[in-house]
Symmetry: D3
Subunit: 118 residues, 6 copies
């Protein structure tokens, strides 16, 4: 799945979902967003924490979201590789299919950034 498609589907679903959501769910979504703001730890570190958590719990959509955010925060491919190495070691070979898809998505993010804006 390409970054544009992922982001578009995610936003459309979020809109549909939050229109119907009860107060508890809305507050949970807010807490989720607040957890990754700058604080004692910088956003970049927090996005890596979100990414590695998502990887060991093996959720492709969560991985894609945090890869997008890591890319925006300027994480390098070398830093990403070291973070995902930890995810593979902690979570085991069951993480490998998600790791493969993550690296393809990361490549897409890099390719997208090199395209001239229309």
């Amino acid at each position: 799945m390409k970054p544009e498609d992922f982001n578009q589907t995610r936003e459309a679903q979020n809109e549909l979902v939050l229109k119907q959501a009860n107060l508890g769910i809305k507050r949970f979504f807010n807490l989720d967003e607040a957890a990754y703001q700058d604080g004692a730890l910088p956003r970049k570190t927090k996005e890596l924490l979100g990414l590695v958590s998502s990887a060991v719990l093996r959720c492709d959509d969560c991985i894609r979201y945090h890869l997008g955010r890591c890319f925006e925060e300027g994480v390098s491919t070398e830093e990403l590789g070291e973070a995902l190495n930890i995810a593979l070691i902690v979570g085991g070979s069951i993480v490998i299919p998600h790791f493969r898809r993550a690296m393809v998505y990361w490549q897409d993010l890099q390719d997208g950034a090199q395209k001239p804006s229309k």
Copy 2:
């Protein structure tokens, strides 16, 4: 995935699978079905238990199946929201992508029920 497509694929696969299954597997399928029958707890509560378990364990197909059954048992959108709120709190943000797909599927179930039968 639309409810009709999900149900059709599920039934076709079940047929193929149970043709080859050994006795242990067939009995397990029977126990699975029996667990949701009316008893001291009504079926509606049991389907909510099945739904929330499926959500925290993050299995889209299991969520879809129990959403379909909850819909048949007359679960309201407000009741569903409170049950899924518990799933989000217990299971965390890693459940969110499944929650999003669940709400889209629930919308499809409602839309399908409003269509005039041909």
Copy 3:
């Protein structure tokens, strides 16, 4: 672990923890509590949802907490058995050790209620 010991340890740890916790963590604890209040679904059903989620995710402390709450809400042993049957079917035999400890704890809750108050 006996209900009194569990409750005492849990409260002592919660106190220590919330003294140091940041705002995000405190809000998460509040959301957690709010999710089980009466609403479209009664508290009793919500506690059963919390219990079965905790069982399939195999967290003994969470199971104990929700067993205590189910007991307070008047869940019968027969209702509990049907809920935990669903947890066993959904979560598999890996849940059995937790199921065993849950039933011992439930027995302790019942025994405790029959003791004359000092």
Copy 4:
């Protein structure tokens, strides 16, 4: 936890639990036992399957139970090591604490077999 203590606690709890269990739960316990009987695959292979499943799902009691059964089926320490190596690779370093306890328990099983019977 020593093998004798584990076995004794497990049997005492099973007795308490099955006295109160509904039909669904009793049948599930029976299916669980039946799954490991000799068939197209020998019991020894099936116990290794149960052990490795328990290890990647990280359930100490399940690991202990299957270690005891593997020992009875004559699994060698070398075979055990290769099976648990697969569990470590598939499940990752999060399995290591369970692996450590498993090896201590296996040592206890071996020591117990060498003691002269009283």
Copy 5:
């Protein structure tokens, strides 16, 4: 997903991934492969261990990979059924959707082997 498509995608992604991977990741891939070589336990048993681990951890791609390897090692449909029965019992009904897809894939592997080579 058909076996040919799965294998092709997997190999293409592996190539992309290992070109960029750091030493730790490459070594982990090597350890993963080494764990299934003949030893005290034969490869066939090890592939069944990999399959059942993948099933209880519910990773479709891992299941497909080990089904392909089991097929190459001459695992019979009856042996496969007994192994997957253990996976269902240990892992519960949450494994069923993966079990269904596994049996469809196994059918495809068998059908593919009966086709005359072009």
Copy 6:
């Protein structure tokens, strides 16, 4: 469990385990250690990644180990709180009992550092 007791038990078990371990297991232990060395990401960040992974996967021993390492790397209580907030949000309330034990252990680490050396 106090830090001294945890470290002592862990080391004693590691010694017993690695004496019997096959080459694959030994190499896996080495890869595990190598993954947390300084590189493009500093050790401190890597230990936080290990900690949060361990928290969402809910392994008390792994959490204790990484808490000890975080303490050695100079992680502040505020930084720890933000990292564990992410673990709670990603992993949900099922993480809370582990979070409570983590904070007690962290307190023990701090108390231990303030004791005059004998």
